[in-house]
Amino acid sequence: MTFRIRFFLISLLALLCCTSLQAAELANPRSMAFPPLTFAVPKAERAVLQNGTPVYLLQDHELPLVTVTALLHTGSVYDPPGKSGLAALTGSQLRGGGTGALTPAQLDGELEFMASSIESSFGTDLGSVTMTSLAKNLPRSLQLFSDILFKPRFDEHRLNVARQQVLDAIRRQNDDPKELADRELRKAIYAGHPLGLEPTADSIKAITRTDLQAFQTQFIRPDTMILAVSGDFERSAMLAQLNQLIGSIVPAKPLALPVVPQVTPSFSPAVLYAPKQINQTVIRLGHLGITKDDPDLYAVRVLDFILGGSFTSRLMMEIRTNQGLAYNVGSSFDVGRHFIGSFTAETETRAEKTGKTIGLMETIIAGMQQHPVSPDELKLAKESIINSFLFGFTTPASIVLQQARLEFYSYPADYLDRYRDRIAAVTREDLLRAARKHLHPEAFKLVVVGDQQHFDKPLQQFGKVTTLSLP
């Protein structure tokens, strides 16, 4: 299916008018009118390989490039006990460790010489492997893509290099105070769940090549996979090659993804302090949030914009614009797909304003629960979300990947088509209700990284302080 979007260009009439408007009054940005633009969500074709693997396809011949992505049901939530980091290492070594036919050096050499790229990375509950290639090298790139997925070599030397790199990254994990704070907040919010686990030197050292092979066999299979293909390819040739490379694979055993328990919704406050001799304090706070299936999803999206997700948000406006206390400040609901997501807020401010700024953040967040937002705030948020919706579809690769992800996470079929209407339907009352239900200012996990001898107020003011012993 060719990539085509229906929309109306500015009419010829308007065009002719412009030419004679040299001396005319310039339009006022507050009240100017615009030609209409209707935007229908572009659709990719969904095909199915002979073994049942779904493939989303979108041709676009503007540039001689092809992108292919495999989405896989895998990730760190499936790390076995004591082996945190296995999914991430498997992800990196799929590509890094060579294939059955090629040593790692040969694979690197061949890919980079033809300027193709294949990169794999596994997150918490989604793994992705993405190939980009010049159209003229497509058949060979696709062959290597499939070998990387299904015939990885997991070269022992490369695995050792990768393991040492992770160990070094762990040594460096407290170097940047912002990263340190982000990590400690995540650990506190998801304590007791696999999402709250971080790899340690011990867990990394415990991982062997056999573990990677077993993990690959368990999770990289056509029946955990959705493919997304976009760019300058010919449909029937693409499907034929995908069928030959991937559609022909039938797993030996039936699929049995391990069951990972849902996060237990629990809310309790904590103050976590990490000492660092720095002149600017890093502040992070948050708690558990919602999943995509929550009926308040759309209200939460709008709430996010108003509270901390835009330049004119309440947090930004007060803490940065009005008071000059910070450069970066904001908040967001990270909406969970399989697992409950989170609400987090962040800023950095000079040590002497630490207490004041934490207090302001808490007050501004709690304010969302006290009164309905103003009609103007609601209008701005809704218009911004609705009018910028089309930026989710600016490249063929993003369109096709978006659709594959929606199927991957079992979104309703009308999700994109109805998205703008559902945002438009959100009311001030919805927002107030959602704020009262999903914000828990009384139960923030507060993480503070800095030098407390310069703080304006003792941290104890915000609760019982636990000083983190940094690894």
Partner: protein, 501 residues
């Protein structure tokens, strides 16, 4: 401006794709150029992939153009240019203007007192500061906060931002394509009628930006120190954001003087890329920007760095694991040897097959990360920089030795034709890839028009790279990658946490 970028350490990863700076012959046919009588240059590419458009305005003025008492002003002014105009961001400019004048008078007295340092009259200062705060509060009732953001946001604009670098300052936005006139109206008003309201509060925001980006980040502190050490005479050495003490003495008067000198159509390049009708855009820009008067051309920085006569080393102690930077002075964009350096960068640092990755990361396992890029600007002679993160227990000194060995090898042995071929193949890919987004294309068009003098730099680039020979690389390596032309920067671990409870 939420993440007001200014080219700091982003270079470490982003700029390592130097060699990617080339573009398909196809671009030659796609770019439409238009020059206006007031000196404004407009570049356009029509792409109907989606009903969106990206518009970038680059002013050919950056921190390299600051006088010594203005350090940091280009960047602070970039923040200030989001604060509105005589008609936007204000409820009543006529009533607001006298207050703004009064604020600046008090601020000038306060700055004069602060300049006395230890000899300043403390009670006088306190009184001036509270007077300033009181007046700013009073002026606030006329302010419509962040109205530019508000207008763009409700019309579906995304990526509204700006960044300041050594060589230039860029303002960018992407909009649904039917809203391009909003951009023309706001941006032309900003060029003509900017009002730098809320100045001293915004200066505090920039102080926080500095703390966040440099003071509290050992890696960035090393970068800032390293670049400053590289330049004794040329202003490339000063950080774009300004030194702490510089930011503290910046005033609205200085910002306005800088603004009125340079932010004019003759110093600007505009790129509009996306779902457009170029003939219409030419008329739109004419209507909104055509009457703006030209300003002073940005003068060429006359100061030249003296040739370095011996290795320079700097060390930063920080609460972080070690890092290493090696630098060599080299010519800027447009010099014939600059292209040779691009090829050297690619062979040394691009990808898993690059020489440094293979030798230091895979074989010797001395480092976990290596990268090669040039910085801190490109208009004037700059630096080839090699970055490495040593892998414990290996020291920065061991890594330095291994890097130098690879540089010696460049002098000793001609590079292989396969390595050169790979550089060209990668360029072929990049030429296609970079055409794939409106914003990326607008960025490159404005960047090369401003620094290389023409966007056509991109279309002629691959042919120039193809002419680079193994002998050129050996000659350039021998000429520049020498001890006396070398800088070494090391981040040394000094772990001391804050006081315990």
């Amino acid at each position: 401006m939420k993440q007001t970028l200014h080219y700091l350490l982003t270079g470490l990863l982003l700029l390592c794709c130097l060699v990617s700076q080339a573009v398909a012959a196809g671009l030659e046919d796609k770019v439409i150029e238009h020059s206006y009588p007031n000196g404004l240059k407009l570049l356009m590419v029509e792409r109907h992939t989606s009903p969106t458009v990206s518009a970038w305005i680059r002013f050919k003025v950056g921190s390299v153009n600051e006088r010594s008492d203005e350090r940091g002003i280009a960047h602070l002014l970039e923040h200030m240019l989001f604060k509105g105009t005589k008609t936007l961001g204000t409820r009543n400019y006529a009533a607001e203007a006298p207050l703004l004048q009064k604020i600046e008078q008090v601020a000038q007295r306060m700055l004069a007192e602060e300049a006395k340092g230890d000899k300043a009259d403390k009670s006088k200062l306190e009184q001036q500061r509270s007077e300033l705060a009181g007046l700013e509060k009073k002026a606030e009732k006329y302010v419509i906060k962040d109205e530019f953001f508000d207008l763009y946001a409700r019309n579906g604009g995304v990526g509204y931002n700006a960044f300041t670098a050594r060589d230039g300052t860029t303002y960018l936005i992407s909009l649904p394509s039917n809203k391009l006139e909003l951009w023309a109206a706001i941006e032309s008003d900003r060029m003509k009628n900017a009002v730098l309201r809320e100045f001293y509060t915004e200066r505090s925001v920039v102080m926080e930006e500095r703390r966040r980006s440099y003071d509290a980040e050992p890696s960035a502190k090393l970068w800032e120190t390293f670049v400053a050490a590289a330049y004794q005479a040329h202003p490339y050495g000063q950080p774009t954001i300004g030194w702490t003490s510089d930011i503290k003495q910046l005033s609205r008067t200085k910002a306005e003087s800088f603004l009125h000198r340079y932010y004019a159509p003759n110093n600007a390049v505009i790129a509009v890329v996306g779902d457009i009708n170029p003939a219409q855009v030419i008329r739109l820009v004419e209507r909104y920007f055509g009457s703006i008067k030209p300003g002073s051309p940005v003068p060429v920085v006359a100061t030249q760095e003296e040739p370095q006569q011996g290795e320079r080393r700097v060390e930063v102690l920080g609460d972080a694991e070690p890092e290493l930077l090696l630098g060599f002075h080299k010519p800027g964009i447009g010099a014939p040897d600059d292209i040779v350096f691009d090829v050297i960068s690619a062979i040394l640092g691009q990808g898993r097959t690059s020489r440094l990755y293979r030798a230091l990361v895979l074989q010797k396992q001395l480092a976990t990360q290596v990268s090669v890029f040039d910085a801190p600007g490109s208009l004037y002679p700059n630096l080839l920089v090699l970055y490495a993160a040593p892998r414990a227990p290996h020291s920065a000194a061991e890594v330095e030795q291994a890097l130098l060995e690879e540089l010696e090898r460049l002098k000793r042995e001609p590079v292989s034709t396969r390595e050169l071929e790979q550089v060209l193949n990668q360029l072929e890919y990049e030429e296609a890839r970079r055409m794939g987004t409106n914003g990326g294309l607008a960025r490159n068009l404005t960047e090369y028009e401003a620094t290389a003098g023409t966007w056509r730099y991109m279309t002629t680039y691959r042919a120039k790279v193809a002419r680079v020979t193994p002998a050129d690389i050996q000659r350039v390596a021998r000429q520049y990658l020498t001890r006396e032309n070398r800088l070494v920067g090391v981040l040394t671990t000094d772990k001391t946490g804050g006081k315990q409870l």
